[in-house]
Amino acid sequence: MRFLDLANRNFKETYRDPLALGFLLAFPLLFMFIMGVVVGGEATPNFPIGVIDNDHTQVSQAFVDEALAEVPALEVSTYEDAATALKDLKFGDLKAYIVIPDGFGQQVTQNWQGDEADITLQMTYDESDIMISEQIISIINTVTRAFARIEIPVTINATPIHIETEITYIDFIGPGIIVFGILILIPTSARIMVRDKEKGFLARLLTTPTKPVEFILGYSLCLVVIAIAQIIIFMVGAWLLGTDIVGSLWLAFLIFFLAGLSSIGIGMVVASLTKSENQAEPLCWLFSMPLAILSGCWFSIEMLPSYIRGVAYAFPYAHAIDASRGVLIRGVGLEALGTDFLFLIGWAVVIFAIGVILFRRSMRS
């Protein structure tokens, strides 16, 4: 089996290169660690928020005292009127304030009784701090839905939720950083393949009876092993840093793996179209860094303009982040992931096929 010998060689070339290995594994882990320690993780963020209860029912009282007050990330103060809260927000004493409108108690009660009813909360927040406001929205959203026991959206987020979860920042950011690590697989794949082309190693082996398909299998196998190792290490890393894993680990792994296959495929396409590492690497970064931001590796992309979100969702990574967040944080199953999952499979198959065709072609002279 020539491709096994080739895969073995490719693998040794990678794991014996501390720099490449460090880049593949340590870089995303470092990111995860920094994000976890600085913004979330053990030091759970503490957001001062104000609450104005205009409903004045037992239900709304319970929502403030039992639901909101129990969230470790929130420091709740009650206000009598919105004007005072707004003043404190402007002075920076509050990060946001919520107005519980009249009728809230009734809406919640209706939900408890099984009739679906829209729940509205008004929230005013400090716009300048996108990261924090985004988290507060996410937390309030989660808490409210848990409290009202609903699966329909309160504000913007349309996915069902796991009621017991306390969503911390690391929970939220863990899947994003894992996908960031998977995006780094693009330059790695391209580098491994294009380096052999540039240094003439491929040409040398083409003077042996090795068939083109054996080369492709040799690279793919090695890269798939790297992807698997990478995903496992990242998942363990995310868990160690405090990401609560609620859903199926296997399903999450599968989601990351499919995204990993797309990365390998994209790397193969880049390696086919370029002649040297110096051409391939910048091209990969130019592609994967903006995509990491657009796909929501570091922050939620809900507030981005819809056309930019459209760009992000044309690639598999935003889908992988959504789907893995759904699985890891909220414990949703395969059935709830439908389109995201199909999209991931479709992308992996198509880009891999294109990669193989182009790389085969680039081997001929």
Binding site: F201, R204, T207, T208, T210
Partner: protein, 319 residues
């Protein structure tokens, strides 16, 4: 030019490599121009020529890396266009650039090529051991090769072409960029392989071709411009001989006297270069002594392949 000849002319079983009007054109630039070459089994044949003469292009076509734009060739009877994978089974190639897997050790590099050629573990181990000893890399066999010197890497480069015991060996500039000592060592290894294998070697070092080759093809602008043994080339190409004299106290009178007897006489700072079809060594030295000059050294310069190349192409075979 008959560039579309698909059928090889009848294959001679004494020949390891035959080319038939082999041609390669890159974007209108003719790199190899209708090459017809016959290399016998067991022969060490050197393609000698300056950079850009078409040597590497020729090798690349013969080892099926590059499709000819015209003509064809056979290696051990297999046509390079029709049976490239048969050809690849019988050849070993040591490329011009040192192409090894930097983070593997010697054993692993050799094993990779060996296993690709379907060698059994035992056979592979014995042959690797043998090559490592012979090529003097036995001590370092377990070190990652990126730590090796240029000469060691090139030796491994050649070993990787040899590991599967191929019948035909292509060595593209095997000593490029090495210091004289390392080159000498590699020459000895190549000489050790002579007769066992058919070897096609390219070089732009005339001393390399001179030292190693049974026959030399001098290549320029995609064509073989002269072909023969080193001695044949030197004798047939050079009608004139050159004598070089270093002497003190050269007088104008004796210079003029020598000029009157020989075709070309050049004098610069005590060095006299005399060129003619026939040179009388004794007569020249006697004339100089009689004139009172002190001759420090005098010798007839042996013609070199460089002179042959200069004679044919009008330019020097420089690195």
């Amino acid at each position: 030019m008959d560039s579309n000849r698909a059928e090889p002319v009848k294959v001679n079983s004494d020949l390891a490599i035959q080319t038939f009007n082999l041609t390669r054109i890159f974007n209108g630039l003719v790199a190899v121009d209708g090459l017809d070459l016959n290399i016998k089994k067991g022969e060490l044949f050197a393609l000698l020529g300056p950079n850009g003469a078409g040597k590497t292009t020729t090798i690349n076509m013969l080892c099926c890396l590059l499709k000819p734009t015209g003509g064809t060739a056979t290696i051990m009877g297999y046509d390079i266009n029709q049976h490239p994978f048969k050809v690849k089974e019988v050849i070993g190639v040591s490329p011009q650039e040192t192409v090894i897997s930097e983070r593997l050790n010697c054993w692993e590099n050799l094993a990779l090529i060996g296993r690709i050629h379907g060698m059994k573990a035992r056979e592979l181990r014995i042959r690797s051991q043998q090559l490592l000893e012979k090529m003097g890399l036995g001590d370092r066999a377990k070190d990652q090769v990126r730590k090796f010197s240029g000469g060691m890497k090139r030796r491994l480069n050649i070993m990787m072409a040899l590991i599967h015991n191929p019948e035909v060996l292509f060595l593209d500039e095997p000593t490029l960029g090495l210091d004289p000592q390392a080159r000498r060592a590699i020459w000895e290894y190549i000489a050790w392989l002579k007769r066992e294998k058919t070897i096609l070697l390219t070089t732009h070092y005339m001393d390399e071709a001179d030292f190693l080759a049974d026959r030399i093809g001098i290549m320029d602008k995609g064509k073989i411009v002269a072909l023969g043994t080193s001695v044949e080339l030197k004798i047939s190409m050079l009608e004139k001989h050159t004598m070089i004299v270093y002497a003190w106290n050269l007088t104008q009178r004796v210079i003029n006297e020598i000029r009157s007897k020989y075709d070309e006489v050049e004098v610069t700072d005590g060095t006299m270069i005399i060129t003619d079809k026939h040179l009388d060594f004794k007569e020249i030295v006697d004339l100089l002594h009689a004139s009172g000059a002190v001759v420090r050294s005098a010798y007839i310069k042996e013609p070199t392949l460089d002179d042959v190349f200069l004679h044919i192409t009008g330019k020097e075979l420089r690195e």
